[in-house]
């Protein structure tokens, strides 16, 4: 229990640091939200009025404190970009049903490809199958996602018409259509993760296949498949799950690009437009929620270790 409490405390501390860093970074960056709103028609009187309307005329510390006070009560404030018409929480709530399934599909696809391929490569080490898999993995790592995304749209959406070229209907309005518009972006997002994870699975399996207990298992006459799957893979998954957690962080970063290319109304696109428009409450809110999701996943993985690995249970 102490183990989980410690982790939970670390998680909250990290969130606090993230929120302070994003808040003050935005103040240091050039670019005034009031000026961005008024554009090339701005004059000093108008700027002053807009700043006051947005509450930007208060000291930074006061702004941060009032923001933090809101968050504790579950209120992330109002976005500046829609004349303060939308609550940040509502915008994020609308974006999550896009980004979470997208990320989940991508990580699932990546694992579904990486675990069999990595295991196969390890068991055929140095043979043709291994070389081909490593070659594909190298290619998957080197191809930029946005470029592949554009090609995929051209071919599968514009030429073949299998998928929409961008955008996404709401789940409630058209669930099949919504799912269909996530397939292509999830594949694009999954590719580099699959490429890395394949290598991780392969390396982890190779390490484990050298272990004494594997020799014992083979020695007692178990079939090779059983040795690899039961004794090899189940142990390799502990280290793979750690890496998968880190991959998830990169996946969240990847959604910024993929959501832009596929015009998906998700969290990544929300973050991008918020940063470009210096929409402080929206940037704060989206980054905070993004960080919270990543931390929550890591926390879940951490709490899974004791189940996956009895040795950690022992330490407690």
């Amino acid at each position: 229990m102490m183990y989980l409490l410690k982790k939970l405390f670390g998680m909250l501390a990290t969130l606090a640091v993230v929120s302070i860093l994003t808040f003050f970074t935005l103040f240091v960056l050039p670019g005034d939200p009031a000026l961005l709103i008024l554009g090339t028609e701005a004059d000093p009187g108008a700027l002053e009025l807009v700043r006051a309307q947005l509450g930007l005329d208060r000291p930074v510390i006061v702004q941060y404190a009032s923001w933090l006070g809101g968050v504790v009560r579950g209120d992330f404030g109002r976005s500046l970009t829609f004349s303060r018409g939308y609550a940040v929480a509502d915008l994020i709530a609308a974006a999550l049903p896009v980004t979470l399934p997208l990320a989940a599909m991508a990580i699932f696809l990546a694992m579904a490809v990486a675990i069999p391929l990595g295991t196969l490569a390890a068991s055929r080490r140095g043979k043709t199958a291994d070389k081909i898999i490593l070659g594909f993995s190298q290619a998957g790592l080197s191809i930029p996602a946005f470029w592949l995304g554009i090609l995929a749209i051209q071919f599968f959406a514009v030429r073949l018409g299998w998928f929409p070229p961008g955008g996404m209907p709401r789940w409630s309005a058209d669930p099949l259509g919504a799912l269909n518009s996530l397939i292509l972006p999830a594949l694009i997002l999954a590719l580099p993760r699959a490429a890395i994870l394949t290598r991780i699975v392969r390396t982890a399996m190779l390490e484990i296949l050298k272990e004494d207990y594997i020799r014992t298992a083979r020695g007692k006459g178990l079939p090779e498949t059983a040795v690899i799957l039961k004794h090899g893979l189940s142990n390799a998954l502990v280290s793979v799950s750690t890496v998968a957690g880190i991959q998830l962080i990169q996946l969240v970063a990847g959604t910024v690009v993929v959501e832009q290319v596929f015009s998906l109304p998700g969290l990544g696109r929300l973050i991008l437009s918020a940063v470009l428009l210096r929409d402080l409450p929206l940037v704060q809110g989206t980054i905070f929620v993004g960080a919270a999701i990543i931390l929550a996943v890591n926390f879940l993985l951490d709490s899974l270790y004791p189940i996956l690995d009895p040795r950690i249970r022992g330490v407690q």
Partner: protein, 499 residues
């Protein structure tokens, strides 16, 4: 046929069917692609062009702009101006309904416009500093001014001056209520907006369509793809870089028209060597506008010689031949100014505007030919507005000024003490003439004044005025009723599908 192949085909067909289902297109609706979300629909708080162009279909003011740039009746059936130019009398149209079902009253007009004129309420009040008062008299609205303001009526066509029911004030940003031909029924930020026909619109002829969906698609490539797959019907503002993909494509029409934008290379007149008239003139001689229009806008633009676009019609005077392309003359002037070997400077280009970046790169190349070596620095929009526009901490930059209906609001940024005077231009003759322009009641004399103002800007080579790029609207040939305006609006009311 192998089982594998068969499974593949079945899968492909079912996926195609799924894709087909999500297509919302019928004959009485249209899907329009726009690049960004509006910033809300409260007429006094929203300032983004993206809002104003959509709000044009939801709200109306007393008067509005017509496609030819003239001012036509909207909520006012007619109006008159007193002989001294100080009193405007508007006769309201009877029986106009708001989207909430209530009939519009003169009190609503007085309420909305009083708020617009109040600097405590809105930053837009700055344009109306000359207003003395507003009152209702029967079904007439009377607005009095402190001094004649020839630009006043044009300002009343803008988004800020629309009329809304005061009882809906609170949620106007996200739930606008106006008198326009369309009602906003749904807005999913970052995704789409839905406009539905207002059945009680005062003009029974309009709108022709039952529904318009505005899809927010940030990537121009995605807009074009969606057009080709039928997910989008209309791209009102196509990036010129994508013109070659749609031009000549069967079944699609590209309608090009001047957009009334002044694209220019802003010169900081206050810093050396640009404080020397000869240097600025040399730069103007060194520039080949046709080459820029070809290279940056794929030929879709009109060269300009001062700070007004030909779209401004009678106000415009053609000054493009004041500095013909003459690199030799440019070198002579540079030598006279003491720079026989040229000089180097920094050119800041705004990142989100491919058209301005493209023009800037070509300009840098042309200026290099006369010995002016420009270091290009691409700068994010937020930083551009702060460092360059507000602090004027720059040498050269390329940007576009959006056109307004009246020339005064386009030309007053060059008045010495204007806070929008990014060029740091200062000229006593210009300042005085600009003030005269507002007081002049005789239209012919007013035209003369604004032509002289344009000539001063050109003569003093304040900036390099480049072009008015065309607005490129792309749609299927069967979609009719597209109307182009010299102001930043999107007129959806007259759109209809060919039978």
């Amino acid at each position: 046929m192998s089982r594998f192949l068969r499974t593949g085909i079945v899968l492909a067909i079912s996926l195609t069917l799924i894709a087909g289902c999500s297509e919302p297109q019928t004959r009485d609706s249209v899907v329009v692609a726009i690049p960004t979300d509006p910033d809300g629909f409260h007429p006094h708080h929203s300032v983004a062009a993206a809002s104003a162009e959509i709000a044009f279909n939801i709200y109306e003011g007393l008067v509005k702009a017509a496609p030819d740039g003239s001012i036509v009746p909207a909520l006012a059936e007619e109006w008159s101006v007193s002989a001294d130019g100080l009193e405007y009398t508007f006769t309201l149209r009877r029986g106009v309904k708001f989207h909430n079902g209530r009939e519009m009253t003169p009190d609503d007009v007085v309420y909305c416009l009083s708020r617009l004129f109040d600097p405590e309420v809105t930053s837009k009040a700055a344009d109306f500093a000359g207003v003395k008062g507003i009152r209702a008299q029967g079904d007439r609205i009377i607005i009095t001014l402190h001094r004649p303001d020839a630009a006043f009526l044009a300002l009343l066509t803008e988004f800020g001056a629309v009329i809304y029911p005061p009882e809906n004030e609170e949620n106007l940003s996200t739930q606008p209520v106006g008198t326009g031909p369309f009602v906003l029924t749904d807005w999913q930020p970052n995704d789409q907006l839905t406009l539905v026909k207002f059945e009680q619109y005062w003009n029974p002829e309009l709108p022709r369509l039952k529904q318009v969906i505005l899809k927010i698609i940030p990537e121009p490539a995605a807009m074009v793809n969606s057009l080709f797959t039928g997910h989008v019907d209309l791209i009102p503002r196509l990036e010129p870089d994508y013109l070659h993909q749609v031009e000549g494509k069967d079944g699609f029409a590209v309608l090009a028209a001047p957009m009334n934008l002044v694209q220019l290379l802003i010169i900081n007149n206050a810093v050396a060597p640009f404080d020397d008239l000869r240097v600025r003139q040399a730069m103007n001689y060194a520039v080949n506008r046709e080459e820029i229009i070809q290279g940056a806008a794929w030929g879709k633009g009109t060269p300009i010689g001062s700070n007004l676009s030909p779209a401004m019609d009678i106000w415009y005077t053609d000054l493009t031949d004041m500095y013909p392309y003459d690199p030799q003359r440019a070198k002579e002037l540079l030598a006279e100014a003491g720079y026989p070997d040229g000089f180097s400077a920094t050119l800041h280009l705004p990142a989100p505007y491919p058209l301005h970046r493209g023009a800037g790169e070509i300009l840098a190349d042309q200026l290099a030919r006369v010995g002016i070596d420009l270091k290009i620095r691409v700068i994010e929009w937020g930083a551009w507005l702060e460092q360059i526009y507000t602090n004027r901490d720059f040498e050269l930059t390329v940007v576009g000024f959006t056109g307004r209906l009246d020339p005064h609001t386009m030309l007053n940024r060059y008045q010495s003490d204007s806070r929008r005077n990014t060029s740091n231009f200062s000229n006593a003759e210009y300042d005085e003439l600009l003030d005269q322009g507002l007081l002049e009641a005789d239209p012919a004399k007013r035209v003369e004044i604004y032509r002289r103002l344009q000539t001063i800007l050109a003569r003093e080579a304040v900036n390099i005025f480049i072009m008015d790029p065309n607005q490129l609207a792309v749609m299927p040939e069967k979609l009719k009723g597209w109307r182009n305006y010299p102001v930043y609006v999107l007129d959806l009311a007259a759109l209809e599908w060919e039978k």
